[in-house]
Symmetry: C2
Subunit: 370 residues, 2 copies
């Protein structure tokens, strides 16, 4: 019998709370479906810093490289705001992405029908919304060298005497591989890809556009490809988001645009993500799953967090890392049912009301619905 | 009697059409208010390229340096898409911004009551919306060196063999001066500034945050300052935009976030902008005004363009460059009246209907309302 290995990294803030609810789901699948999960748990972010003085210990990094999938909660919080840049909680997350080479970050923005009225956008604009942002996750300005803050004292023009530098750097190969991921995903959906950059002002954007076009013309001519400047993309996401199927974009634009897209659905506490790398020996991609939301320090430890984003991230793991598509469907259906029944954590409580529940009760309801 | 010099650069696409309507407004002020404008006109963007082989001739650049204000329509279009990067229409615009040193780009996102139902956001979210984005406009990744596309042939890991590079570079002095502009503007409005960057992943963002904080603590302690990561900023703009008063951010984030903010109001054809530099001999800032919208090649030459954004840009010129605040108020009131009367260009035509007008008729209606 196959064992499915999973490394859980709850992290900071609401991370541990939402992860407790995922544990209930995992237990349910073990007990009721006889699926064997080999679950280990470790520290990341501020929690790792508190224990090890670094936001990700080398042993944890090594474990992450070995398992079938990593499930991460969230990192960061005000307690760590004044830490040196090199040991900030976020560096733990970035190290995982980089060393596992998780180049394709999949961020679905889906509007759940039961929640359509909860968006700040009109129901008719967001109802049925189902777009997928594929964000490059291992390169660009997040990782480019040179970088840093330097003294610029001998420049009398520069009041303050400092200069801050980051480098946006993309190779053609990095662009091609994430483009392929986007085209493959589009083939299983609406067959359309929109690539976003600022080719009108950045040469790295020109390269981006040319390489995405190259992959299209040579390997995926049957998929519909369009290009859009990222500023216009931000605008179109707000104006008429359902014009999109798959969006592919770089690390920084992907960060901003996917957060805007997530908010369209009105329910950030709902949205999962998958970060995928190259295939491992078992044929499945190296993978880490995380909710799109952050560590939400303002509500941490109060039983207010919505565990659905993390539970749906586990559903993505079922689908992409364990080849358990039917089980993923089952879990997603359970979430939909609970929402349709009006069960609501605080973040989902709109004017139309509902049954208020805590983090833990939401987890229980979803398990009941399974 | 003072003469107010103005250089008009209609540019490409709908630029010339909307500028024709501004001319009517200028004529009205000359005839009815005895205000003397010394208007000259020249080429920029694709139009300049067609004549001179460059998107901005040196003579035009020199003229722009001399006048009280520049009013620009829009640049770019499909005819110029395959031009070399160095002569793209956008380079004309960027040259003006850089050489005039227009470091503070003011982009108001205001929701006109008559148009609140036209937004893709719910009326209660956008009604009364009045935020001002101050975007740094002369530095950052738009201008940083090194930049370019290089061969990376000796890297066997790099399929495609190329690399694209841009540099995000900010000096402390550049950050401080735009921060000051934002604090000054906030004092005349809601007294609140929110600064946006990605200090959690970029050192240039750390410098940004520190320098904005420094200006606040040393010079504007009475203004309320907050900091937000730009991805969260994008999210909050969609979720609850009226939480903001003045937003200050860098060139690239400002490009994306201001377009998203503009779209909240549902009426991109409505939004003006001002790009301001250091004070000239007359005490007024060096300045260029432009509508936020682009050249809209798909509707160019069809009488469909909405001239209001360009007319309101001229209103900003009246206020900031000519010290004619009362006249600016008058012009803005005329625009509001015409909208309240239900006069609508195609871009403003929602389900609730209205009186459809052409570009030229809209200009006439506004002049009538003056
Ligand atoms: C926490 C932070 C480093 C991260 C990012 O910027 O990538 C987050 O915003 C995200 O989108 O996953
Ligand atoms: C046309 C383009 C160069 C420009 C920019 O990116 O700054 C535009 O998008 C804007 O916002 O004014």
């Amino acid at each position: 019998m196959t064992t499915h290995s999973l490394l859980i990294l709850p992290g900071d803030g609401i991370g541990p709370e939402v992860m407790t609810e995922v544990r209930k789901v995992i237990d349910w699948f073990q007990t009721n479906k006889g699926i064997q999960f080999d679950v280990s748990e470790d520290l990341v972010g501020g929690a790792a810093y508190d224990k090890h003085g670094v936001p990700l210990a080398d042993e944890t990094m090594a474990k992450a490289q070995e398992v079938d999938a990593v499930l991460l909660g969230a990192v960061g919080g005000p307690a760590y705001d004044n830490l040196d840049f090199s040991v900030k909680p976020e560096r733990g997350l970035l190290r995982l992405r980089k060393e596992m080479d998780l180049f394709a970050n999949l961020r679905p923005a889906q509007c759940f029908d039961a929640l359509a009225d909860f968006s700040s956008l009109k129901r008719e604009i967001v109802a049925g919304l189902d777009i997928l942002i594929v964000r490059e996750l291992t390169s660009g300005v997040y990782f480019g060298e040179p970088r840093g803050i330097h003294s610029d004292d001998n420049n009398p023009q520069n009041e303050g005497g400092r200069v801050g530098i980051n480098t946006q750097r993309y190779t053609s190969g990095e662009i091609r591989r994430v483009a392929r991921a986007a085209f493959e995903l589009a083939k299983k959906r609406g067959n359309r890809v929109c690539s976003m950059e600022k080719a009108n002002v950045m040469e790295s954007g020109i390269l981006w556009r040319e390489e995405v076009q190259w992959v299209h013309d040579n390997e995926y001519p049957e998929v519909e490809l369009s290009h859009m400047y990222a500023d216009n993309g931000a605008m179109q996401l707000v104006r008429r988001p359902n014009q999109f199927d798959v969006i592919v974009t770089d690390n920084l634009f992907g960060d901003i645009l996917s957060d805007a897209a997530a908010m369209l659905t009105g329910s950030l506490g709902m949205l999962p993500s998958a970060s995928l790398g190259a295939p491992m020996a078992n044929g499945r991609p190296k993978a880490m799953y995380e909710p799109v939301h952050g560590s939400a320090p303002d509500i941490a430890g109060q039983g207010k967090a919505n565990p659905i984003a993390c539970i749906l991230s586990f559903a993505m793991a079922l689908r992409y890392s364990y080849d358990l598509g039917a089980e993923a469907d089952l879990l997603e259906a359970a979430v939909e049912k609970v929402l349709a029944d009006g069960v609501r954590t605080g973040d989902l409580m709109g004017p139309e009301g509902g049954t208020p529940v805590t983090t833990s009760q939401m987890g229980d309801k979803i398990v009941e619905a399974l």
